[in-house]
Symmetry: C2
Subunit: 121 residues, 2 copies
């Protein structure tokens, strides 16, 4: 159950566009909290709250330097997300295949309706 | 923002082991709510609540037959999760490489300490 709880914590932490934007910024390199807060038009305490959620989920780590506590991303838990999601890959690929076939069928029908020779791949 | 909200809804729906187990069951084929509820030792209303979260996130669809309303998985939103997560793949792969190198180093040090010839790949 430990693995599942980690996965739940990761998914919950990612269920917020600001937290995902923070991770996207940190993927470019570590930076201090004040710099992270800048693009979000949010108070420092509000950003700190998001950082605590990310830190608890193990998605970021924070330096101990009192002055600027740099944050850095830890992408480890995202591997768990990718592994979990990958089990369903064949399902959405099948779905896209079906959609593709359906669109081909209606294109052929439309072209027949307009008296044109149906295009073939 | 629509895309981001969809992604937040998907992540929030996946942040629960019971909901992930329901999806795993539905990946094998559609089934009625009563059958879905069986392995979880949960009341039917509790399972229905989870199903509503999954349905709102577009991860499942439910039939309209009054008697047994079969549920089926819709893996479409999981492609969004996979695409988002994939941007971070190089980061966790680098992390695993570093871990691998570190483990190799301490193995070599240990073997030197015990007077053995270090193994090489």
């Amino acid at each position: 159950m430990v693995q599942q709880d980690q996965l739940s914590a990761t998914f919950a932490a990612l269920a917020d566009p600001t937290r995902r934007a923070i991770l996207a910024r940190l993927a470019e390199g570590e930076c201090p909290v004040t710099e992270l807060a800048r693009p979000f038009d949010m108070s420092l305490p509000a950003v700190s709250k998001h950082l605590r959620v990310l830190e608890r989920a193990g998605l970021i780590a924070r330096g101990r330097e009192a002055q600027w506590r740099p944050c850095r991303i830890d992408a480890g838990p995202l591997k768990g997300v990718a592994d979990w999601t990958d089990r369903y890959r064949t399902l959405w690929e099948k779905r896209l295949d079906r959609l593709d076939k359906y669109l081909q069928q209606i294109t052929v029908k439309k072209e027949k309706h307009h008296g044109r020779k149906p295009r073939r791949k």
